[in-house]
């Protein structure tokens, strides 16, 4: 089952996948045990002449323990899952680390628009760069997305990044990630947003430090010089 997950290229991806496998093992064991019991009982206790059914009501605590104790074990395992999952959730959605790159994400039926500040990190200073559908980020850096929707609810999802966040119109909603592997990954809208919802796709392009500097150089040749940035170093 784990093999069906797409390649993980996110700093917190392993935590999500770990919770996934933890749940998989726990519920998988219960599932197989329960199915095996049903099948076994169906064969073992099929009608045979001369063998009446047992008269067991399960209404004494002693008998009911056969279902209550497994129930109790389920409670304990549930809390185990809650704790592991809670940690991963907090890491991804609550404790967002300081970002080296801030990008504005604008979702509008049926496109993604990514707005970059200049290398000085300042938006609306006359050197913003707009990219339609392509999100360029440096590998190994914390990227913070400030997302807005112009119309309906959209959801920003990058399966390879184990990231998903709905964008509710009227609010600015933040998300972050740190890519671990350079490459191109799909961005998709995963909240039904109208007739061309399925076309609302984008590409996340994770660049090595050198390539990202080159990309920056292309878009802000003068600013890059002004900020005195060296290749491979991204100024906040």
């Amino acid at each position: 089952m784990m093999g069906w997950l797409p390649q993980d290229v996110s700093s917190f991806g392993p935590d999500v996948d770990h919770v996934f496998s933890l749940i998989l093992y726990i519920v998988g064991a219960w599932f197989i045990a329960a199915e095996a019991l049903i099948l076994y009982f169906a064969v073992r206790y099929r009608r045979r002449t001369g063998r009446p059914a047992a008269y067991v009501r399960g209404d004494t605590l002693r008998q009911a323990a056969w279902v209550l104790i497994p129930g109790l074990i389920v409670v304990l395992l549930d809390f185990g899952i809650d704790i592991a999952a809670g940690r991963a959730w907090d890491e991804i959605k609550l404790d967002s680390p300081a970002a080296t790159l801030n990008v504005r994400v604008t979702a509008e039926r049926f496109a993604w628009i990514f707005t970059y500040p200049g290398p000085d990190g300042k938006f609306d200073a006359g050197h913003d760069y707009w990219s339609l559908g392509k999100l360029y980020v440096p590998v190994g850096q914390v990227v913070r997305l400030n997302m807005r929707s112009m119309d309906v609810i959209h959801s920003f999802a990058v399966p390879n990044m184990r990231l998903r966040q709905d964008i509710v119109p009227g609010r600015t909603i933040a998300a972050w990630f740190k890519a671990t592997t350079p490459g191109s990954y799909e961005i998709e809208c995963t909240e039904l947003c109208g007739f061309d919802h399925y076309k609302m796709q984008g590409t996340l392009i994770v660049l090595s430090a050198a390539d990202y500097a080159k990309w920056q150089q292309q878009h802000w040749p003068s600013a890059q010089a002004r900020a005195g940035g060296e290749a491979g170093e991204v100024k906040k």
């Binding site: 997950l5 008269y55 067991v56 008998q63 549930d78 809390f79 959605k93 999802a157 998903r164 796709q201």
Partner: protein
């Protein structure tokens, strides 16, 4: 209690005069006729729902090709199909089948009443429901097409007519749902009142069959949860037609409000459907195992616990919605905790089989198949209830596979189990076993073959509600699984012909049913098949709980609830 008082109490006040055609078959106040009306509507709507499923699956497997019997569909039409499929299956199939048909048919019979507490209200409820169904079906034919914002109708997509091509269609969707809600509110009041106030002498609450308990628990849950959504739906309609802005940020509204109102009802709704489904399985498993149901009282407490918990889990549909992320873990805990009462129910069902003397007639096959299938739906819910994994799985085919694995078993496996089981009581004839078994095996394997591939498609990350999943480079390699699921879906739908044929042929050619063909204990089996207008000649005297099977030392292995005790070895009823 005097006999006359008892008669009055249980509704035997005598509306047994000869009735004309219209009063007998159309505007009937007999709960059995009303149950059959709900049954007929739900089975018809199930065919419409299956038709939408077929069109959806075809488009997913072979995008943009002409769908035989449908034609090529546009992305708008696809969104309408998805919306209508969900709406029809949940509100116009599962509810009328599990509550409308089985609740109406079984509750008065099982508690030994002559009819529902409010027979006229009952009639009003079925005709209100019928009208809702007509409005929904009509919306398929209006300009702009049917509603296309998903069965969840998230605002602002649903709130501003500019966002979907469906304008009138979305309004009609709201009206249809309002009528449906009104209908089941009336039905729910009737269920609760009948089970609590119109029971036969001796039928204490702790002697009520589990199906009755589960039906009234579901009704109470529906009554508790639907109110906010009715308010919410009115606000949605006002946004659309009067230009208010409850959900429109530009006018100061908040789209998340709709999500909260919708899921505060929407999640309990799952249990409104699941509990009667479980109730049906819990009636059938003991009969065909010839064993008392295991842990009767614990099963009732489980239903009540699940009901209470289900009111505080709704935000698990909203982990990534943009609500305060600190809410996720509390809702995650309550959500995962709800697995406990359901786990105990499942364990009790399995324990009921232990040591039994099982036979595998069609009702038993469907009950066991439903149990075995529901397990997968139940355990996969943990992945989604846990907020961390939901980040990845939310909105993917994993969700689609998960909820079909919960709702299909309780609606169709339990529903068919119930139909094969109570058909002799409803229509006075037996259904054909051979066709029934064929129907079961095709349905069982067909169902698994549709949705197991979709779990894999979902784990791989494919989003749901997209017109062409093959259009995403990341998922195009999964297309063979989509094709496999579609072929299986066509087999699954075609297999229902075995049921339709069996249903209609048995009406005419089925073997005449005895009063108690399954040798079961609940009260409905103590009267004629089908029961006369007021069910019992006189209120039955209830003497024991409903699951007295294979009592040691007894003359035979069942002991109807109203049969006079004939052996000293019979344990006192609980």
């Amino acid at each position: 209690m005097s006999q006359a008082a008892a008669l009055k109490e249980t509704g035997y006040a005598g509306h047994g005069e000869a009735l004309g055609f219209w009063r007998k078959y159309v505007f009937s106040i007999d709960h059995k006729t009303i149950a059959k009306q709900y049954l007929g509507i739900s089975l018809f709507m199930a065919l419409v729902g299956a038709y939408t499923a077929y069109a959806i699956r075809w488009q997913l497997a072979w995008p943009l090709t002409r769908i035989p019997g449908v034609g090529a569909i546009s992305p708008d039409a696809y969104n309408s199909l998805v919306t209508m499929h969900g709406t029809i299956m949940v509100f116009f199939v599962a509810m009328p089948l599990l509550l409308g048909a089985f609740g109406n048919f079984c509750i008065p019979l099982m508690v030994g009443a002559a009819d529902m507490a409010f027979p006229r209200l009952n009639m009003l409820s079925v005709w209100t429901f019928f009208t809702g169904g007509l409005v929904l079906l009509a919306s398929l034919f209006v300009p702009g097409g049917a509603a296309a914002a998903g069965w969840t109708s998230y605002a602002p997509l649903s709130a501003n007519p500019a966002y979907t091509t469906a304008v009138l269609g979305q309004d009609m969707w709201i009206v249809a749902l309002a009528l449906e809600f009104a209908s089941f509110l009336m039905g729910g009041v009737n269920f609760l009142t009948t089970a609590l106030n119109v029971r036969a002498p001796g039928m204490s609450l702790w002697r009520m069959p589990l199906l009755v308990w589960y039906e009234i628990t579901a009704s109470a849950l529906f009554l508790l949860s639907v109110g906010p959504l009715i308010g919410g739906a009115v606000m949605l309609l006002l946004d659309r037609v009067l230009g208010t802005g409850f959900y429109l940020p530009a006018k100061g509204g908040d789209p998340l409000l709709w999500e909260h109102l919708f899921w505060f009802f929407g999640h309990p709704e799952v249990y409104v459907v699941a509990l009667p489904g479980f109730g049906i399985m819990l009636e059938i498993l003991p009969v065909f195992s010839r064993k008392p149901v295991f842990a009767y009282r614990a099963l009732i407490y489980c239903a009540l616990t699940a009901t209470a918990l289900s009111l505080i889990v709704w935000a698990h549909h909203m982990f990534v919605s943009g609500m305060d992320p600190r809410l996720a873990t509390p809702f995650s805990v309550t959500t995962i905790l709800i697995s406990v009462p359901f786990a105990i129910m499942v364990f009790a069902m399995i324990a009921t089989l232990w040591g039994g003397s099982m036979t595998f007639e069609t009702p038993m096959l469907f009950a066991l198949g439903g149990l075995a299938s529901f397990l997968l739906g139940g355990v996969t819910g943990i992945f989604l209830g846990s907020a961390a994994t939901d980040i990845y799985l939310h909105g993917t085919y994993f969700v689609v596979a998960h909820f079909h694995y919960t709702l299909f078993p309780v609606t169709f496996f339990a529903g068919f189990a119930g139909l094969y089981y109570w058909y002799p009581k409803m229509f006075g004839r037996m259904m054909n076993e051979r066709l029934g078994k064929l129907h079961f095996w095709l349905t069982f394997f067909g169902f698994q073959a549709v949705f197991i591939p979709l779990f894999l498609v979902g784990v791989a990350g494919t989003p749901r509600r997209v017109f062409m999943p093959v259009g995403y480079p990341l998922f195009s390699a999964l297309q063979p699984l989509q094709v496999f699921a579609t072929v299986a879906a066509i087999v699954l739908i075609a297999a229902q012909a075995a049921f339709v044929a069996n249903f209609f042929l048995s009406l005419k050619y089925g073997k005449q049913a005895q009063r108690n063909p399954w040798r079961a204990n609940t009260l409905e089996w103590s009267t004629d098949s089908p029961p006369p207008h007021e069910n019992f000649p006189a209120p039955p005297q209830v003497r024991r709980w409903p699951y007295e099977y294979s009592t040691p030392g007894a003359r035979r292995d069942w002991m109807p609830q109203d049969e006079a005790a004939e052996a000293a070895t019979v344990r006192a009823a609980s």
